[in-house]
């Protein structure tokens, strides 16, 4: 399919603009644009067709089952799209005075309370723009907290199963990273942890349930180790969908929690964003939260900037407000029954696990939480079929593949998260396909190796992409990459979340 720039025709346009009877203003010559940007020149019908065609070449939750582990690809209720587009939310300026934005402030205040309740921690800032920014904000709070106490602590410990964002955030916050290993039941190796923690340890970042989909059975002991050493516990909320109303991070002993509103509280993922990464903290960390705080004063709401110990701002204004509207609507549609969401998610995952554990390797044979990790190790050893091959073949069956090659400690990993919004029939159809692929691996491996067969493109040459780094259209100088023929290569697509 052509790029929109390749459909351009000089002088064509979709826009009509008002023109007013006002004087022309000249831009000083030295500041004026010389060469106009080569934006598309296209009519509205062609523009609409272009983006419609792009949409048909994209697979979303609306298209079908999307069990991408650790991404919580649940259905996005359409009522959320309706309410976020109410003019009172959509067309509200972020610098409007408090008297003119009471509805927005009240909504955020209510969402803060709901998130505090789910976290089991009293104070919330909605500001961070995504989970990874929530992590960074939480680590900044750790810095500010210890600095305020006159303590020098440099190390932050992260599990070897952690998302890549954890170690990256540790570095960006100016801490030194230490890695703790996983034991044979898929829990943190507590003995190893105990050796590592000392008075230079600022804290631990942990996802619980972990990226293996397992709840850490020693969480109380882990919390005690840190609290005795004066450190703080950070909860990566990527997997919160497993435990809402069932176990609260604050009750587990965590001091700082980030939420992924786009996962747990149903934000359309939009092809990669937007997200939302609010954080909840214990009282002693509350003074350091970003400004402004949203506070209630009688029946009025306002923004409080007068917070001398605050770390400052991590994002413009109050954060991604539209994300808040959707997540608040989502939570209110469940009410106190939010735990039913997690119960269904965990039931769905365990059902799928039970159906698949014979056909694939299961590195940790326990009940899972909202997701589980299988391995294609035996398929690879016996038939040369890798996790990547299984993923590609699933496309032919009409499913989005699970997360693959993550967590890093499981070879040939397939990380599957069905979410609570899938019916048993869908889970069965997916399980049937997975089992069929394992059979095909023995009988007709080439069918899998050549997959996918029915997508707009077949397997793509990532080496060429990385070497040539063609990252924009070059107009008349654009290279013809098809002339340089691709070699079939064995590639393992990586993924982070």
């Amino acid at each position: 399919m052509k790029l929109i720039y390749e459909k351009s025709s000089p002088g064509r346009r979709a826009s009509t603009l008002p023109s007013y009877d006002v004087p022309d203003v000249e831009v000083p010559h030295e500041l004026a644009r010389e060469e106009p940007p080569r934006l598309p020149e296209i009519s509205e019908p062609e523009l609409v067709r272009h983006f419609t065609e792009l949409s048909t070449r994209t697979f979303g939750v609306d298209t079908g089952f999307y069990p991408l582990g650790s991404c919580t690809m649940k259905h996005n209720p359409r009522v959320n799209e309706r309410v976020v587009n109410l003019p009172g939310f959509r067309d509200l300026h972020p610098l409007q005075e408090a008297e003119g934005s009471q509805g927005a402030l009240e909504l955020m205040w209510r969402l803060q309370n709901d998130l505090a309740e789910v976290a089991g921690l009293p104070a919330v800032s909605l500001q961070p723009a995504a989970g990874s920014q929530g992590e960074l904000t939480g680590l900044m709070l750790m810095r500010a907290y210890f600095a305020d106490r006159g303590e020098q602590r440099h190390k932050v410990i992260v599990a070897d199963t952690a998302h890549g964002t954890n170690p990256a955030s540790v570095t960006m916050a100016g801490f030194e990273l230490q890695k703790v290993e996983t034991d044979e039941r898929g829990n943190i190796d507590v003995a190893h942890l105990r050796e590592m923690v000392d008075n230079d340890t600022a804290g631990l970042m942990l996802t619980n349930p972990s990226t293996l989909g397992l709840f850490d059975e020693h969480i109380e002991e882990i919390a005690a180790i840190f609290h005795e050493a004066g450190g703080l516990l950070y909860y990566d909320g990527a997997n919160l969908n497993a435990v809402c109303g069932i176990s609260r991070p604050g009750d587990m002993g965590f001091d700082i929690v980030h939420f992924n509103l786009h996962k747990t509280f149903s934000q359309p993922h939009g092809g990669g964003g937007p997200g939302g990464g609010p954080i909840a903290v214990r009282d002693r960390l509350e003074p350091f939260l970003p400004v402004p705080a949203i506070v209630r004063d009688g029946d009025d709401f306002h923004l409080d900037y007068d917070r001398p110990k605050s770390i400052g701002k991590v994002r413009g204004y109050c954060g991604p407000f539209g994300v808040f509207v959707r997540s608040y609507a989502y939570i209110r549609s469940y009410g106190p029954g939010l735990r039913e969401m997690s119960e269904a998610a965990v039931l769905n995952a365990n059902y799928l696990l039970a159906r698949l554990k014979e056909a694939y390797d299961l590195p940790f044979d326990r009940l899972c939480m909202h997701e589980f990790v299988l391995s294609a190790r035996t398929l690879k050893k016996e038939h040369g079929i890798t996790a990547l091959d299984v993923a590609k073949r699933l496309m032919d069956y009409g499913f989005h593949p699970p997360t693959i090659y993550f967590p890093l400690i499981v070879p040939e990993a397939l990380m599957i998260e069905p979410t609570e919004t899938e019916a048993k029939e869908t889970l069965d159809a997916f399980a049937d396909a997975m089992i069929e692929i394992a059979r095909e691996a023995a009988g007709s491996p080439d069918l899998i190796k050549d997959a996918p067969h029915e997508r707009p493109v077949r397997r793509v040459d990532e080496v060429k992409a990385a070497k040539r780094a063609v990252v924009k259209y070059g107009f008349e100088d654009h290279p013809n990459l098809s002339a340089e023929h691709a070699e079939p290569r064995e590639l393992e697509a990586q993924k982070g979340a």
Binding site: V463, A466, K467, E490, L491, Q494
Partner: protein
């Protein structure tokens, strides 16, 4: 095309899968067949600066495939006297000829006695077989 597996007898080896060819008071360094095979086709080489110091066991550069990035560990200490610009331009040279055109840097040795601590080809072959 990727080279066939080999570990030449005239080289010395480090456990991080790096090799050294000793030439008087200088050494040529690179990564072994085993290392390039584990990484896959290389797409980028981030070389050290000419004249910079490298120390045994520490990273002096990076090589990348599409799926992984790896520090290149110096098997010996010294000062960089040459960087292989062919590999900067065509990183896949390391895959096709890891011990020839795919060398990474040339150093002037600062502690020649370190050579004795490296493995010979037989020891390294045994080491690789255990991986």
């Amino acid at each position: 095309m990727a080279a066939a597996e080999s570990y030449p007898d005239d080289l010395r080896y480090h456990s991080e899968h790096d090799w050294a060819r000793i030439e008087g008071d200088e050494a040529v360094l690179g990564v072994t067949w085993f290392a390039q095979d584990a990484l896959g086709e290389l797409v980028h080489y981030e070389p050290p600066e000419d004249g910079s110091d490298v120390s045994r066991g520490a990273s002096y550069g990076e090589v990348e495939s599409v799926k992984a990035v790896s520090d290149v560990i110096a098997p010996l200490s010294g000062t960089i006297v040459a960087v292989n610009t062919k590999v900067v331009d065509e990183p896949e040279t390391v895959n096709t000829d890891p011990y020839g055109e795919g060398w990474l840097v040339r150093i002037k040795l600062s502690t020649p006695s370190e050579v004795d601590e490296l493995m010979d080809a037989d020891a390294y072959r045994k080491f690789v077989a255990e991986q």
